[in-house]
């Protein structure tokens, strides 16, 4: 029997993952600000409170530090919390519990406990919400041993990675992009898992490897289509998991294409592409490079309000096309 595959939005795919996880395991519960009858600021939890009740879809006070700590304690106590931060920017209020507690408790206690929790972070710019509601801070978390960091770009991966994250025995930081919530794509109806720590080759190519994250995967694919018209063959890799990173897929690709462009929305300096670049430079792929490694990341400023400025603050398709063309044609 063929599996049923429907078109769902990225937000619907996330919601389906949470519903299926709660149906399968009574330990799983959701918590967050306005995730109940309001349905979440981005309607990701939607009507789940009506299906599962307020004890499993819990509205919290506006208290990110406290809520993060409650999630840690609940995980230690045998429950499986999935905590939604209303905006990823508000993670700053919960960093103590995320970085000092969730990430370190297993190690500090000599491996005697695990902290199975998921924190969901709506991230990214493009909504006109300006500097405190538009950041891409995922690289901060990837710097912390003990955390896993995932960042799905498609509805399929949104569901599969979220189910994998909820299953995972360790704390998983789950970064969603607000502009992707309405994006539609094929999603199997049955529960399935996308393994954490695996990148995906979204488009094979011979001339250049683009390693992109989140919405930049789609911009990279659009750029690759444009470049294909010019006879340039670009491979696009969706990193999907920032920690632990899928080194093998990236090194194999760059060894073959001999060129690397990293595209990410977080601020360029010390963003995730910086790590990918350094990892490749330290690998056997370095000797195969025919061009310098290049990064396209967020501008060195907070996300501005004005729409033209906001667009200019993060990589756009023409930026990727130009950078890729330069790399392949040896203009850099």
């Amino acid at each position: 029997m063929d599996a049923v595959v429907r078109e769902l939005s990225y937000a619907q795919a996330l919601q389906e993952a949470m519903a299926q996880a709660m149906e399968a395991d009574e330990r799983v519960f959701l918590m967050g600000e306005d995730i109940g009858v309001y349905g979440g600021a981005f309607q990701v939890t939607g009507d789940l409170v009506h299906r599962f009740g307020e004890s499993r879809v819990m509205d919290t006070p506006i208290a990110e530090l406290g809520a993060a700590g409650v999630a840690v304690g609940a995980a230690l106590g045998g429950s499986r919390p999935v905590l939604e931060f209303q905006f990823s920017d508000f993670a700053t209020l919960g960093m103590e519990q995320i970085v000092n507690q969730a990430a370190k408790i297993r190690f500090m206690l000599g491996g005697r406990v695990s902290v199975p929790l998921v924190m969901r972070f709506p991230a990214g710019s493009g909504t006109g919400a300006a500097a405190q509601h538009s950041q891409s801070l995922e690289a901060w978390f990837a710097h912390v041993p003990g955390l896993k960091v995932v960042q799905p770009a498609t509805p399929y991966d949104a569901k599969g990675l979220l189910l994998a994250a909820i299953d995972d025995p360790d704390p998983v930081m789950f970064f969603e992009h607000k502009l992707l919530y309405k994006m539609r794509g094929p999603v199997p109806a049955e529960p399935y898992r996308v393994p954490i720590g695996t990148a995906a080759v979204m488009r094979p190519g011979r001339d250049l490897t683009i390693v992109a994250t989140s919405i930049m995967v789609h911009r990279a694919l659009e750029a690759a289509a444009t470049l294909a018209d010019e006879g340039l063959d670009v491979e696009v890799i969706d990193l999907r998991t920032l920690r632990p990173m899928d080194r093998e897929t990236i090194i194999a690709s760059v060894s073959r294409t001999t060129r690397l462009l990293c595209v990410y929305e977080g601020v360029k300096t010390l963003g995730i592409g910086t790590e990918v670049s350094a990892m490749v430079a330290e690998s056997e792929a370095f000797d195969r490079l025919d061009a310098p490694i290049r990064r396209l990341g967020g501008a060195e400023c907070p996300i501005p309000y004005n729409p033209d400025l906001e667009r200019a603050a993060v990589p756009q398709v023409p930026d990727i096309v130009a950078a890729a063309r330069d790399l392949i044609r040896g203009a850099v």
């Binding site: 230690l76 919390p81 190690f107 500090m108 491996g111 041993p145």
Partner: protein, 342 residues
Amino acid sequence: MGDAMSNSLRVAADPLPLAYTLLSRGEVRDCLRRMILIRLFEENAEQAYMRGLIHGTMHLSIGQEASAVGMGAFLTDADKITSTHRGHGHCIAKGADPARMFAEFFGKETGYCHGRGGSMHIADVERGNLGANGIVGGGLPIAVGAALAMKQRRQPNAVVCFFGDGASNEGAFHEALNMAALWKLPVVFVCENNKYGMSTSTERSMAVKDVADRAVAYAMPGVIVDGNSFADVAEAGYHALRRARAGEGPSLIECKTYRIRGHSRSDRNRYRTKEEIESWVRRDPIVHLREELLHLGLLAAEEIAAAQAEAEAEIASAIEYARQSPAPRVSELTRDVYTEPA
């Protein structure tokens, strides 16, 4: 809770304190033994540190043993605690093995955390101790989460959350108490007010006089007890635990106490007087309990001496165990950062 700060001993004609009517003589004796064990553990840890056997730092709770053991008097292994950077007493009160604690201090593989945590992160999850914490206020929301899990799992237990006066100025304290009360969770917040957050006195750091006053903002009972009186702490704990387990919600207990030693190894005691310290040395909670039990006829002098001797023997063998234990392997440096796939 009576006169919280009274130092006078009860006389036999007074009604027996509630704790002594609820605990058997054997249990009372065990509580005294544990208080002595905590004191000896810390005095010996301090000496080992001076001799260079322990590195890093440590925060001693000498003088605060009654709040740890008093709160532990009515807990079972299925109840949980969260502890603080000054947590050796909580750990022993919850039933930890001093040998594995010393092994942890010595950085040995046989320690509670396999030498990865040290003094500030000792936990004993089998006994329900979710761990000391290096972050002031770090344990407060974790305790609330553990209590939430108990409610979700329909377990008839409670969480005791130890913290200090300094933590009550942290946002985490306020967020945690609010959520615990809002959701009527089985948690007892136990403030060990030892008058100083490092060097800064409560007068210089708190807008209210008593931490217990903060309970009213979260619609829970807030009581003040003499933190150096085992019986007073145990009685307050008994009532708060009964309330928690009955699903009536959290409570706040403020134990007025004092740390005789400095904040940590770096403390030069420049912020308090010798007279103040000596006045609290005279109110030693172990001396107080010993004399109270003798006065009330609950324990004979020989039984007290035997408890002391047992504790001394246990500490001596604990140190020996720790010294002879193997060190962790450097090749296993990154073990347990993540859970290995089963």
